[in-house]
Structure formats: structure tokens, C-alpha cells
């Protein structure tokens, strides 16, 4: 039986009521529609990519056999598709939150969405029917040597990635513009005076940017640099495609590619933070405000996200040694803002609170756990002595699946159910929560443990056919993934049921 939600009174999406009410109902409805388009598209792509992911694990388990060429095409699509899915969903969510804080032109957001979807379409075309299979990393010169696909497929893939980068950059520019407009300057948007002249700032009656505004600012600044890197490597590889005599330095290409890939994958979780800042206080019935430690933490994240990528090149001994040292140091440092400020603050808000445990809050809270556990796996891998034995083993997908699947996706689902619960004024029945929780988290644990166990045993990643103990471990990991997807399907049915009910809640 569904439970009626007792609304707390102090916050809606992290904003006071009067702030939301400054938006006209039509504008609010329109902004919410745009947000749902981004989020739903992200979730739909996730569902398709998850099926591809399970198919790959089944191939590695030896349950099915479709050959390495198809496997690597699927691997390529799965990698690009999943990051695009998580980026789309979190971009939609953070756009909506910033829209609640200030004016944002929806046409620009639709253009950004259009570019990204055109890019996704081009990538799909490159894989089916193009058979492109150089993985999302497309490390130069792999797309051009020994390829089992036609050159046009390489071109379609690179153009697709560049279109995604263009859409992403448009979104970043728009968001950064909105934040700067709201706070007057980049200096104020970053909370400079709030941090360094706090007393004068407070006495002047000024308000620092919201917590979610910091997340948006970091995502848009780092996102612009990331998008630029994506376009640079895309142009370089396209130039080589049309003029093979034009050579590229492989080490330079690897650095740019991983800078692009590492940052964009990590930014999805920092964007999802915006939902956490809103969701946790709301469910816990406690308020959460910007503080100096929070502002400083986001400054740290702004830097660390960009510089930790060097750990992807630990096994390139030709890389300058100083960069290897930086890779380990910045990887460690990148954990500090997360565990000392964001996650610590969330735990403080939950501790001995009147937390309402609904599907929305369970997903968000479990997402925090996934973030921490994935982070532990990542830190071990970022320690060079361990990396000697873990680099490019299944330990790598182990930790990034933990914080993308067990972190970002759960934050997305938490946000979706939070919105649905507010809309209907009700939460799901306890039995359904237990069913979804058991299937999703139980299946997810088995699926993820498979990666960790095989990674620690040295099984290389990206193998269509794995050495022992890979196939055995892949068998129970596949079962876990299927159980998890069944749980998510149950959650989907519940979400559709809630979305089609007559609105009764505050966001009706």
C-alpha cells in the first residue's frame, strides 16, 4: 500500500518556496518538461546500453558466442553510450536546478541536446552497420591500423564524438553564463569574497552561491576544457583520416584522450551531486547551506578532476616522471572534497534525523555508498605499486562501474523518484521498496564483485574471451546483472505507475 508523504516545509529543490514562485507556472512546467526530456533520454540510453553490457558479460562467460569483432563494436557503443546516458541525465537535472535560480534560454538547451543526440546517432551508425570497434578510447593509431571496419565508420565515430563535445560545450557555456549573470561575476560565482572576506560579505547581507550552483560551476568550467580536448583530438584524428601522411604523437594523443575521457566521466558524478545536495536535506527534514568548507572543496574538485587523469598513463614509462607523481598525488587529493565535505555532510544530515525512507531517498543514500566504495577501489588502483598489477585488468571497470552504476545512476533514479513522490504526494509501498532494493542492490553487488575478483586475479579488461578465472566469474556476474536489471524493471514499472497517476503533490 502506498504511503502518503508528509512534506517538510523548508525546502523544495534546495530553494525556498518564494524563489520557485518567482517562476511563472508556464515557465516552471516548460523547464520541467525540458529536464524530463534529458533525464528520460539518458535513462532510455542507459537501458539499451545495460542490455549490451549483460550481453558482453554473457559472451565472456561462454554462454553465447558472436565473435570478437561484434564484441568490440558492442564494447565501443556501450562505453560511449553509458557516459552519454549519465551525462544527459545529470545535465538535464542540473540545468533544471539552475533554471530555478535564474533565467536560461530553453532554445539553447534544446540545441545542445540536438547536437548530443546527433553525435549519439553518428556513433550508433559507426557501430551498426559500420562495425567500428576501437573502444571509446580510440587510442591513436588504432582506428587506422588493422581495422576490421571501413574508413567511413571511423569518420562517423569521430564526427559523432565531436558533435557530442559541441553539445556538451554549448551546455557548459550556457550554464556558466547563467551562474555568472546571477552572481555578477566569476569571482562571486566561485565564492571568492565569501571565502576570503567572509565577515564583510556576511555583513553586507550577501548570499553565497547555492551548493548546487558550485556543482554547476565546476561542471561547466571543467566541462569546457574537457569539450575542447575532445574536439582537439577529434580534429587531429580526422585530419589523419583524410591525410594519413600527417602523423600524431601517440603519447600526446593518449594524454589528450584520457584527459577528455577521465574528466567527462568524473564530472557526471559531480553534476549528480547537485541532486544529492537537494535530495538529502529534503528527505532528512534538515536544511543544508553553503559553507566555506563546501566552497573550498569545490575549488579543489575544480583542479583535481583535471589533473588526476595522469593515473591512466602510469604504465607509460616514457611519460615525464613528474606527471606520474602528480597522477598519484592528485588522485589521492581528489578524494578529500568528496569524503570530507559532500559525503560527510550528507551523513551528518541523515544521522538521528527524521529521514523518510522512500525509493527516492534509498536510491540517493545507496548512491553515496556506491560512490565511497567505488572511490576506495579507485584509490587502490591509483596507488602505483598496486597499479602495476591492476592496470587494465577488470579492476578498472570494477571501480568505475561501482561509482557510475552504484553512484551516478542511483542518484539519477533517486532524483526521478523524488520528483515523482512530490508530484503524487505518495511514496511506494514498503514491500515494493524491499523488492526493488533486494533485486537491485543484491544483483549489483554480485555483478560488481565479479569485476573486482577477476581484476585482482589479473584478468585483463576488454577481452572477448578471458583467461581463467574470467569465464567462471563472468557467469555469476551475469546472473547478478540480470537480477539487478529485473529489479530496475520493477522500479521502472513503479515509476510509470506514479508518473501516470493523478497529480496530488506540491509539484502537480
Amino acid at each position: 500500500m502506498a504511503q502518503t508523504i508528509v512534506h517538510d516545509t523548508h525546502a523544495t529543490h534546495g530553494l525556498a518556496h518564494h524563489e520557485i514562485e518567482t517562476l511563472r507556472p508556464d515557465d516552471l512546467r516548460s523547464a520541467r518538461r525540458l529536464m524530463w526530456i534529458w533525464v528520460d533520454t539518458g535513462l532510455a540510453i542507459f537501458a539499451l546500453m545495460a542490455i549490451l553490457g549483460v550481453t558482453m558479460r554473457a559472451e565472456q562467460a561462454g554462454w553465447i558466442s558472436f565473435g570478437p569483432d561484434v564484441f568490440y563494436s558492442i564494447l565501443t557503443l556501450h562505453g560511449v553510450g553509458m557516459i552519454s546516458a549519465m551525462a544527459l541525465a545529470t545535465m538535464g537535472g542540473i540545468w533544471y536546478m539552475m533554471r530555478l535560480e535564474g533565467p536560461l534560454d530553453e532554445r539553447v538547451a534544446y540545441w545542445a541536446y540536438g547536437f548530443i543526440m546527433a553525435g549519439v546517432a553518428a556513433v550508433i551508425l559507426s557501430v551498426f552497420p559500420g562495425k567500428f570497434g576501437a573502444a571509446w578510447t580510440f587510442l591513436y593509431p588504432l582506428p587506422f591500423i588493422g581495422a576490421t571496419w571501413a574508413p567511413w565508420a571511423t569518420g562517423a565515430f569521430l564526427i559523432g564524438m565531436m558533435l557530442v563535445s559541441v553539445g556538451w560545450s554549448i551546455w557548459c557555456v550556457q550554464l556558466l553564463g547563467c551562474i555568472m549573470q546571477r552572481h555578477g561575476s566569476l569571482r562571486d560565482a566561485m565564492g571568492w569574497d565569501y571565502i576570503f572576506h567572509n565577515r564583510a560579505f556576511t555583513e553586507a547581507g550577501k548570499q553565497p552561491p547555492s551548493a548546487q550552483s558550485f556543482a554547476a560551476m565546476v561542471a561547466s568550467i571543467d566541462g569546457l576544457l574537457t569539450g575542447a580536448a575532445g574536439m582537439v583530438i577529434g580534429v587531429a584524428l580526422l585530419a589523419h583520416l583524410f591525410n594519413p601522411s600527417m602523423q600524431i604523437d601517440p603519447l600526446w594523443a593518449k594524454n589528450v584522450t584520457y584527459f577528455f575521457g577521465h574528466a567527462i566521466a568524473n564530472l557526471t558524478i559531480y553534476m549528480a551531486c547537485a541532486w544529492v545536495y537537494v535530495g538529502v536535506p529534503r528527505y532528512a527534514g534538515r536544511s543544508y547551506h553553503t559553507s566555506v568548507p563546501l566552497a573550498v572543496a569545490w575549488w579543489g574538485t575544480l583542479i583535481f578532476v583535471l589533473l588526476a587523469y595522469f593515473h591512466h598513463l602510469y604504465m607509460d614509462f616514457a611519460q615525464a616522471q613528474a606527471l606520474q607523481y602528480m597522477g598519484e598525488a592528485f588522485s589521492y587529493m581528489s578524494a578529500l572534497p568528496t569524503v570530507v565535505v559532500t559525503i560527510f555532510s550528507c551523513l551528518m544530515l541523515v544521522y538521528r534525523s527524521k529521514m523518510r525512507w522512500t525509493l527516492g531517498s534509498i536510491f540517493i543514500y545507496t548512491g553515496l555508498i556506491g560512490w565511497v566504495v567505488g572511490g576506495i577501489g579507485a584509490l587502490l588502483d591509483a596507488s602505483i605499486p598496486f597499479n602495476n598489477n591492476l592496470h587494465n585488468t577488470l579492476w578498472v571497470p570494477a571501480h568505475f562501474h561501482t561509482y557510475l552504476l552504484g553512484g551516478v545512476l542511483l542518484f539519477v533514479l533517486g532524483f526521478v523518484f523524488m520528483m515523482l513522490e512530490e508530484r503524487t504526494g505518495k511514496s511506494s509501498a514498503p514491500a515494493l521498496r524491499w523488492l526493488v532494493g533486494t533485486l537491485v542492490f543484491g544483483g549489483m553487488a554480485a555483478f560488481l564483485l565479479g569485476f573486482y575478483v577477476a581484476g585482482a586475479a589479473g584478468v585483463p579488461r576488454r577481452y572477448a574471451i578471458e583467461p581463467a578465472p574470467g569465464p567462471h566469474v563472468a557467469s555469476w556476474a551475469t546472473v547478478g546483472a540480470i537480477v539487478m536489471l529485473i529489479g530496475m524493471a520493477v522500479a521502472l514499472v513503479e515509476g510509470i505507475r506514479m508518473a501516470t497517476r493523478k497529480p496530488q503533490g506540491r509539484l502537480s
Partner: protein, 172 residues
């Protein structure tokens, strides 16, 4: 040294600790409710301690791990036996026999795309690895202390034959 087997229990212990703390905090919501102001003071004091502890742990980890960095090892071995390896899609041309208890430096490069040169010991544990990159030579220092059959596997995705790209050699 193969640290793979060590890392899993370490990860599981740390993850279990983190999960236990977070579940404990979730369960605390069943107890009597406290005002946020009553929690904040202690929490902020705890946070200062937590930050200090993490900074110390990370700084110590960084210092402790530096001697295990593999980058200078090859240069230090001035009398080592050098074994050139030029990886190619999808094979590692490598001598069939290598000496036991002898410092060896593999001079690893690639003729075509990026590969990974991963050495597995006779118990199938990943012993050491380095990237094989066109236009660059990476020097990997290894001293095989146990005789037996070793396997080299590709550790960087290199195309449709990636999973089949391996070689074996005997250490005696």
C-alpha cells in the same frame, strides 16, 4: 611482486568498514531524533579530525609508495640483460628462454598500435607490465626468481585479436 591477491582483501575490508558506518548512520534514524544544531558541533569537530587523518594517511601512502615506483628501476640496472620486444598486432616476438635470478630489462615498443606487455608468472599471477607504444621505448626491469613457464598477455586494447595476443617463455 604480484600484489593482485593482496588488494582484494584490503579492498573488501575497507569497503565493508565504509558500508557498515553508512548503514549504521542510516539505522540511527530509527533512534530518537536530534536537532541538527545538536549534531553539528560534534560533527564539525569530527570532520576536522577526519580531514587531518586523511591528509596524514594520503601523505604517508604517497611517501611509502615512491620507492616502489617502477620508473627508475631500469636505469639503475646498468649490468642487466636487455631484451628488445617489438609488439605487433597480434603477437609478442620474444626469446623462448630467459635466465632465472638475473636482472632483465625489457625494451618494449610497438610496430603498429598501442599494446600492453603484461607478464604472468607460472601461477598465472600478473607479475609486471608496461605499455608498448609506437615511437617510444619503455624499459621494464624484472628479475625472475622462480623458474617455470611465463605468459605474456596484451594489456591494452589493440584490435580484433586483442584477447588472443599472447606469448610464452621459459625461465630457467
Amino acid at each position: 611482486m604480484a600484489r593482485g591477491p593482496l588488494v582484494l582483501p584490503l579492498f573488501l575490508v575497507l569497503a565493508a568498514l565504509a558500508i557498515a558506518v553508512m548503514i549504521g548512520i542510516a539505522l540511527s534514524t530509527r533512534a530518537s531524533t536530534l536537532e541538527l544544531s545538536a549534531v553539528q558541533g560534534r560533527a564539525y569537530a569530527l570532520r576536522r579530525w577526519w580531514l587531518s587523518a586523511l591528509v596524514v594517511v594520503f601523505a604517508a601512502l604517497f611517501a611509502i609508495t615512491i620507492p616502489s615506483f617502477p620508473y627508475l628501476k631500469a636505469a639503475e640496472l646498468t649490468t642487466a640483460k636487455h631484451v628488445p620486444v617489438t609488439a605487433v598486432q597480434f603477437a609478442f616476438p620474444i626469446p623462448a628462454v630467459l635466465p632465472v635470478n638475473t636482472p632483465i630489462v625489457f625494451d618494449v615498443t610497438s610496430k603498429d598500435v598501442n599494446h600492453g606487455f603484461g607478464i604472468y608468472d607460472p601461477e598465472n599471477r600478473l607479475l609486471a607490465q608496461v605499455q608498448a607504444m609506437p615511437d617510444y621505448v619503455n624499459h621494464l626491469a624484472v628479475n625472475f626468481t622462480e623458474p617455470g613457464k611465463y605468459t605474456v598477455r596484451c594489456m591494452e586494447f589493440c584490435g580484433v585479436g586483442h584477447a588472443y595476443m599472447q606469448a610464452t617463455f621459459e625461465v630457467r
